[in-house]
């Protein structure tokens, strides 16, 4: 038995060995180190959009658009060849690059969550784009302020916005009609939201007014952040040295969620954050607060989109989750080529083309302001136009700190413990704030 197991392990290891060495052969091909000999410079781009074409009967427009634009670039730029590589899901992009860096196999361009940037700030070879983005024809200021801020770590620009999202209400029109309720309006308050959630809840039909991602991850936390900012609070102080979320505003925001989840029992708490989209798509949930990426997951319901409610009747502030292109300096020629590609790829014209193919919100203000864009965009992607206009309600960015993930974990736990009815808002937030102050006290 033992020997056989050992043998099996060895066989598997031998197979892994073969697979790995095969990989090495593939990636150690000459990758065009210089452009002087007339050979084009070859650079590699990693993204998480999957393979182009149909996947399980659904056309993958994101990957199609990626491929079409890269093909266009390669056709129009003779001295550069961009290799289009689907590396991994975006959730694993940081981990994948971390591993690649251990062996010096990092790509030239990689797609990363904005929140990963501070962690990449000290990575070997990560490109400081501060000077390059000042190129006049690049129009850096045309990107939304929140995403420029998220791309800047300690004054160094490390990321160019690749995608921008925000949160809004997505509601099931049929459930509102059945309950004889008015659908959410742009002047809703959280009181209106709570009342509608309560009215839409029917335990007999296993129907909930609202569903909330309660896995204590960053997804939980950024839902709360928007409400915290609306109530007049903030996550940290300006110097990022002290937690501020346990303020009166923080308690007000969390109490609003608790009143719905604990008092009214009108919230389906998705503790693994894996079911709420399916539940919404099967008509078990009246309202979600989510982003434009989720809309393609609701083919079976008539949904509408509305901006977030407010506390005071006027501040409908939301939160944006910008993703970034991060560049690695693998040698001068490749670094220049990588920048040239990113500059072209994130220029207004390409951004507009990509938006109209995929439904991605435009990353540039000038595209949003183009006459007729919003109408055409909303016509092709119903609901996405509301998200696009909602970008105007993005006012703040989350702290750009290497320890942000730990801060987020502490806040996530506080939020979930309150929503589960295990603790009171003030006490839970105070505990989390203490923990965060401890984290902030450690020099990075």
């Amino acid at each position: 038995m033992k020997h056989r197991a050992l043998f099996a392990i060895l066989v598997v290891m031998a197979m892994i060995g073969v697979a790995c060495s095969g990989d090495d052969d593939g990636s150690s091909e000459p990758t065009g180190t210089t452009g002087t000999s007339g050979e084009p410079v070859e650079i590699t781009l990693w993204h998480g959009y999957g393979q182009p074409g149909e996947v399980n009967g659904v056309e993958n427009y994101e990957a199609d658009s990626m491929k079409a634009l890269i093909d266009e670039f390669n056709a129009t730029h003779e001295s550069i060849v961009v290799k289009n590589v689907f590396c991994c899901s975006n959730d694993n992009a940081l981990q994948k690059v971390t591993v690649a860096l251990q062996g010096g196999q990092q790509p030239d361009i990689t797609y990363q969550y904005g929140t990963s940037l501070p962690q990449l700030a000290n990575a070997p070879g990560v490109m400081d784009l501060t000077e390059r983005v000042q190129d006049e024809d690049f129009a850096w200021d045309d990107f939304f302020a929140g995403s420029r801020e998220a791309g800047t770590v300690d004054g160094r620009v490390l990321g160019v916005p690749a995608l921008i999202d925000n949160l809004a209400i997505v509601y099931n029109e049929d459930l509102f009609a059945e309950a004889n309720l008015d659908v959410p309006s742009a002047d809703w308050t959280w009181e209106d939201f709570r009342a509608a959630a309560k009215a839409l809840t029917d335990p007999a039909k296993k129907q909930y007014g609202f569903a909330f991602p309660a896995d204590a991850s960053e997804d939980t936390v950024w839902h709360y952040d928007a409400m915290l900012w609306q109530a007049g609070g903030d996550i940290l102080n300006e110097d990022n040295t002290e937690a501020l979320f346990n303020s009166e505003a923080g308690v007000k925001a969390l109490d609003t969620l608790r009143d719905m989840a604990v008092t009214d029992q009108s919230v389906y708490l998705d503790l693994q954050n894996s079911k709420l989209d399916d539940l919404f798509n099967t008509g078990h949930v009246g309202m979600l607060i989510t982003g434009p990426w989720a809309l393609s997951g609701y083919p079976d319901v008539n949904y509408g989109v509305q901006i977030l409610p407010s506390f005071d009747g006027s501040n409908h502030e939301t939160i944006a989750g910008p993703d970034m292109w991060v560049l690695f300096d693998n040698d001068e020629a490749r670094a220049n080529a990588a920048w040239e590609f990113v500059k072209w790829f994130t220029a207004a014209q390409q951004v507009e083309t990509d938006s109209m193919t995929t439904g991605h919100l435009p990353t540039r203000q000038s595209v949003l302001d183009t006459t007729g864009f919003i109408e055409a965009f909303g016509k092709k992607f119903p609901g996405n136009d509301v998200f696009a206009e909602n970008l105007a309600n993005v006012k703040k960015a989350r702290p750009v700190l290497a320890s942000y993930d730990q801060i987020s974990q502490a806040m996530g736990k506080a939020i979930v413990s309150v929503l589960l009815g295990e603790s009171e808002s003030q006490a839970a937030l105070d505990d989390a704030a203490n923990e965060v102050n401890g984290i902030l006290a450690v020099p990075q």
């Binding site: 290891m13 892994i16 971390t98």
Partner: protein, 299 residues
């Protein structure tokens, strides 16, 4: 010449030559990471930063002061104490039930083994829905006999037992197959002799079969303990350590620290992994030592 030929011709060299590729792979993928991990555990290190100052044993000293790691360790111990006995007792029961000649026996054996080859992700998604507080079949079925509803993965106090339930189901087939093989190795004449001496079915099982199964039991106890202490996949895919860290286990904590925490905690994570390694080593040695006192029969 003769001497060289004798050396080259000896079984010793031929043997080493045959296993050389494997030895190289083991050194490369086994020994090298083990040594590198130890070096890392003595550094203040982030995987993304090449500057890694040595800080001696500070990473190890930090472990007992870290409440999240303590909680993960406690969860791991509780999980192991629930998982190992329940999976082995259940497997023994199922294997005994399957160790007979009835119609469709091959189908039953196959059915028991299928969960082992099912992917953890598929198993995880299935159990998440099966054990859903509101929409799950489990609560519906229990409701019809007046029990529940249970929170399962949605309740911090029930999430760990739910995880045990899921993993026992997933690994039952493997344990069962091991027991089934051992059961078929039980000499029939011993069972018959016991019967002729007037032993009932239960006494035969208790005093003849069970002792003869002890090598298999030892193997399963050791193996299950090691895999329980290293639990990760199910936690990563299904519960992500939640709700409220109630299912956070040691390896999951190590993963979070090394890959997602954002602070230079890779060295600290390596230190935790090393402590786990030593604990598993000691556990295994203790079990074998104990086992040699109890196990008398060689399979």
């Amino acid at each position: 010449m003769g001497r060289f030929r004798r050396i080259m011709g000896s079984d010793h060299i031929a043997g080493w030559a045959f296993i050389l590729p494997s030895v190289v792979l083991i050194l490369l993928f086994g020994l090298f990471p083990i040594v590198w991990g130890f070096v890392l555990s003595l550094q203040k290190a982030s995987l993304l930063n090449p500057v890694r100052p040595f800080i001696g044993l500070a990473n190890y000293q930090a472990i007992p002061k870290d409440p999240l790691t303590r909680k993960a360790a406690l969860n791991t111990v509780i999980y192991t104490m629930m998982f190992v006995p329940s999976s082995i007792v259940l497997a023994l029961f199922v294997a005994s039930a399957l160790n007979r000649k009835i119609r469709l026996i091959r189908f039953y054996r196959l059915a028991v083994f299928i969960p082992v080859v099912a992917s953890t992700i598929a198993t995880g998604i299935m159990f998440l829905w099966l054990l859903d507080k509101e929409f799950g079949l489990a609560n519906w079925a229990l409701g019809t006999i007046g029990l529940g509803p249970f929170g399962f993965f949605a309740d911090p106090s029930q999430a760990l037992p739910s995880l045990v339930l899921m993993t026992v189901w997933g690994w039952l087939g493997f344990d069962t197959i091991v027991y089934l093989a051992a059961l078929q190795g039980v000499p029939q004449e011993l069972v018959e002799a016991a019967a002729m001496d007037g032993a009932g079915r239960w006494s035969t099982f208790r005093h003849v079969t069970l002792p003869l199964l002890s090598p298999a039991t030892l193997l399963l106890v050791v193996w299950s303990t090691i895999s329980a202490l290293q639990l990760f996949d199910e936690v990563y895919f299904v519960t992500k350590g939640g709700p409220l860290d109630s299912t956070s286990v040691v390896v999951y904590r190590v993963f979070r620290l090394a890959f997602t925490s954002g602070v230079p905690a890779a060295g600290y994570a390596a230190a935790i992994a090393y402590v786990l390694f030593i604990v598993i080593l000691l556990f295994t040695l203790a079990q074998f030592w104990l086992g040699n006192k109890v196990v008398h029969y060689q399979a």
